[in-house]
Each structure stands twice: as C-alpha cells, then as structure tokens.
C-alpha cells in the first residue's frame, strides 16, 4: 500500500501534465471548446428523437430520457476507448526514449473523456427535470455504474492500445465493432419485444448492462438487483485485468513495433 502511494506521489506531476496536454489538444482546434462536448450529444439526441419517436416513442415512457441515457453512456464508451486506443502509438516518441509507466497515457486520455462525460451528465439531469422526473437519493447510486464503466474503459483502452501497436488496422476493425455495439445496445428501441430467452443475450453486451442500470434508476425508480451489481463489476474487472496482463506481458516489446 505504501509503495502504491509512493508511486502515485512520484508520478502525480507527470500525470497532471499529461492530462493537461490531452485537454489542450482536444479543445484547441474547436472554437466552441468545451461547449461542443455538450452540444454534440444534444444534436444526436435531437436527430434520434425526431426519427425514432414515431416508431418507439409511444410504447416507451420518458422516451427522451430513455434515448438520452443510452446516448451518453454509449458516447462516453466510444470516446474513451477510441482515445485509449491511440494512447500508446501517439506517445511512442516519449516512452521509447524515457522510462515512464505506459499505462499513464491511457489513464490521462480517460480523464479527459470522463470530464466530458460529466458535462453531458449535467445536461442529462437538466433534461430529467424538464421531463418531470423527480430527483431522489437513489440517483446517487449512478456513481456505481459510472465507476464500473470507467474501469472497463481503462481496461479496454489498454487492450486496444496494445493491439493497435501490433496491428494498425485495428482502428478500422474496432469502428465496425462499435457500429455493432451501437445497434446491440438498445439505445433507441426496447428489448421487451424480444422473447425472454433472447432478452438475456443483451446482457452479454457490457455497454447495454450499464445503460440499463441508468434507465432502471432514473426512469423506473428502482434499484437493480445485487446480482446485477455483480455483473457490472464483473465486466469492469474482467477487462481491467485483461488490460493489465497484456501490458505486463508486452511492456518491453512495444518498442520493437514503433
């Protein structure tokens, strides 16, 4: 434990500077700066609302919030893992010359994605208020799926960044996978139309699992079961462990490929 704290202290300044750099890079080129990260999901929401309301809106209560829940979780996942994927290749000039822990780069990219997510989450709650959803203490539980999602994103970012070092077309393959996740996450439709045995298959998609947690808390005013909490944690730990194993194993081999 002491060693861990020592490490955190040692690399704190480096981490801050990396986060600082990622932020500047991200917001430098856009005139709207951070405003864009709020506006962009709102525009997506608007488009989806216009298109899908007539098909699904009648059967699903609080359809706007239903859509919005799916959107913010999915776009956080997408941004975070995509940025994570680039983190090693982008910083090759640094870690092939200076001995620094490589996971720092994934972590710092995740911080900027998380801050972005926090901004959209604020807008999300404003929309909840407009939609007549009453706030209660149960909503504090949303910290749990967010924490799980963060850990999972870090893990997946690590896995992808390692793969991207070895195979440069992973970027395109992952985009295909993201499209699949996009349609399999029940962002704009409901899984209730599917027979019960198929409905469970959706739980194989971790993004859907986290989206559903949001909807159960915010729209249905219920608390998911203990087993469901376990499932959330399982996905987070699984991907995080996978990422750590890969980094440990290939730590000294990345530089041959860069």
């Amino acid at each position: 434990m002491n060693r861990l704290f020592g490490k955190i202290k040692k690399y704190q300044f480096m981490f801050e500077e990396l986060v600082n750099r990622d932020f500047k890079e991200k917001y430098k080129r856009s005139i709207l700066g951070m405003g864009w990260s709020v506006l962009s999901p709102l525009l997506t929401l608007l488009v989806m609302k216009v298109i899908f309301s007539t098909f699904f809106g009648k059967d699903i209560p609080h359809y706007t919030i239903y859509l919005f829940s799916g959107n913010i979780v999915l776009s956080y996942y997408r941004e975070s893992t995509r940025n994570g994927m680039n983190s090693l290749v982008d910083n090759a000039g640094i870690f092939t010359k200076i001995n620094v822990p490589k996971y720092m780069f994934v972590l710092s990219k995740n911080v900027s994605a998380l801050v972005n997510f926090a901004l959209t989450l604020a807008v999300y709650f404003v929309f909840c208020a407009f939609d007549g959803i009453r706030f209660n203490f149960r909503m504090l539980l949303l910290v749990y799926p967010i924490a799980c999602l963060l850990l999972m994103n870090i893990g997946i970012g690590m896995v992808l960044s390692a793969l991207y070092v070895f195979f440069r077309d992973i970027r395109y393959l992952y985009d295909v996978l993201l499209t699949l996740v996009n349609y399999m996450s029940a962002v704009f439709y409901t899984v209730d139309k599917f027979p019960a045995q198929y409905r469970r298959l959706f739980l194989l998609n971790p993004v859907y699992v986290y989206i559903k947690y949001f909807r159960v808390i915010v729209i249905e005013h219920k608390i998911p079961s203990l087993a469901y909490h376990g499932l959330c944690a399982l996905y987070a730990m699984l991907f995080l462990a996978l990422g750590m194993v890969i980094y440990k194993k290939y730590n000294h081999q990345f530089l041959y490929y860069l």
Partner: protein
C-alpha cells in the same frame, strides 16, 4: 558501491517486416510463410561498472549497440541475459527533441518534459526561469514549440535535463547541440555537473570531446565489447586508428600498438601539413 554495474549483459533485438502492418496482412503473411522476425544481438556480453563521478565515453560506429545499451541502463529495455543494476535517479536524453509536442508552447513543453523526467512541480517552478535563461529562449516562451528552430529545440531539451541534479545522466550525442557559443556553454555546464558528483554516460562521435571530458571509455563494435578502460587517451588513439584502418584490435596489446600507430600517423601528417601544429 557502484552506481551502474553492468554484468555480462546481452540484449536481443527483434527486427523484420512486422512493423506497422495490419491484422489482415499479418494473417496473410503467416499463411504464406512470409512473416519473418529477425533476431540479432544488439549487445553481446558487455561488462562495465561505474562509480560515482565517473564519466563514461561510449564510442563505436553506427549499429554498435550504443543506443540499445543506454536503453537498458534507463530501463526502457531489459537485458536478455546478464544483470544490470543502477543506483539513483536517472535523467536520460536519448535523441533530444523527440517526445515534445509541436502544438504546445515552449513553457508547456518544458513542464511536460520535466514531469516525464520525474521532477516535481515545485522543482520546475523554481528552476523554470533558469532553464529558459540557459536555453536563451526568454522571448520564445509562449511560442508554439513547432515554430522553434531545431537548434532552439535541442537547447531547451539540454537545459531541462542539465539544470537538475540526477544521480545518473545519460547524454546521447547531445553535446553537439546548438551553435559554437552554446556548445561552449553546454560543455562548461557539463563540467560543472560532473563536479557536482553525477555519474554520466556520454555517447559521442566527436573523439576530442570524449578525450576531454571522460575518465573511462567503453568501445563497442557490432554489439561486442572491444574495450572498457580508464586509459582514455590510449583507447581513443586506437579507436581513431581503427576508423582509418577498419581493423579491430583483439586484445589490450593490440590496442596499445594501434594507439602508437595512430600517434606516429599524426606526427607524420602534422609534419607534412607544415609547421602549424608545432606551435600549438
């Protein structure tokens, strides 16, 4: 206690056509048997130790394994065989200007580099002015890094690495930084740092520099250790003779013979070149 002890270190390096290929290409090459990874020994059985205040000159032609050895010392690579121990904090400057971000300002880059080298924020706050002054970049602090000339970039990198007090300092070709005036200044700074008790490894193709600064020298050729000695002048003489004749010495007696050959050659050439050298 030795600051760096490198004991029979061998480092295997992988190369081949696996760089920057895609998954599809990887599968195709695997199937058609065209996927080749070549292994070679970048360093083979290298042994040396450095004490506090030692300044090691690392010499050898291109591909001798100098940079790979330095990467092992800094911990970026690990030795395939042998052991390498270091005591103390390391500031390594391998290829000075890489790792800077062109879109960030000089100030931001200075802080980022400082952070990457393991300094604290408070330390950077204290030293920042001094770094900029030494690099002579006072008027460029808020310029984007990409707007600087390459000489300015190297000056900044050198200043950040040198105005701190690492226990071990690794300099890869960095003393050839900047124009004549800055080169003199950086040379002086180096001597000052060495007086402060740092242990240093210097890679240089400028042999007079090695003669002047170093008290030990390690000569590598194609990964093999030709010599490790504290008789810097003799070894440098032999190395300069090697650069002319391209014949490697096999043992110490051959090294001293080559050194003598070199001195004789120098005397001969100076004799031919007129009286200038006599006055120096």
């Amino acid at each position: 206690m030795a600051v760096i002890s490198c004991d029979h270190v061998s480092i295997r390096y992988l190369t081949g056509d696996f760089k920057a290929i895609g998954l599809k290409e990887y599968v195709i090459r695997k199937l058609t048997g065209k996927y080749h990874i070549k292994e070679f020994w970048a360093d083979k059985d290298v042994t040396f130790t450095l004490e506090k205040r030692d300044m090691l000159g690392l010499i050898g032609s291109n591909g001798a394994g100098k940079s790979t050895l330095l990467k092992a010392v800094t911990g970026i690579m690990i030795p395939t065989y042998g052991t390498l121990h270091t005591n103390g904090s390391i500031a390594a400057l391998l290829e000075l200007t890489s790792g800077f971000d062109g879109n960030m300002t000089v100030r931001e880059n200075a802080y980022l580099r400082g952070a990457l080298l393991g300094y604290t924020r408070r330390f950077m706050d204290e030293k920042y002015e001094e770094i900029i002054r030494f690099a002579e970049l006072e008027e460029f602090q808020d310029y984007e890094f990409k707007q600087l000339s390459s000489g300015m970039k190297s000056r900044l990198a050198f200043s950040i690495a040198c105005l701190v007090n690492p226990d071990i300092l690794i300099l890869d070709e960095v003393l050839s930084v900047g124009d004549g005036a800055f080169r003199k200044k950086s040379g002086d700074k180096m001597k000052e740092i060495l007086d402060g008790g740092v242990t240093c490894i210097l890679v240089s193709h400028i042999i007079p520099q090695v003669r002047e600064l170093c008290n030990k020298v390690l000569w590598l050729d194609h990964g093999r250790q030709v010599a490790f000695t504290d008789d810097v002048q003799t070894c440098c003489d032999a190395y300069e003779e090697f650069l002319i004749t391209k014949k490697l010495p096999k043992d110490e007696t051959q090294i001293s013979r080559m050194a003598e050959d070199y001195i004789r050659r120098q005397a001969r050439e100076n004799g031919q070149g007129g009286g200038k050298a006599i006055y120096e």
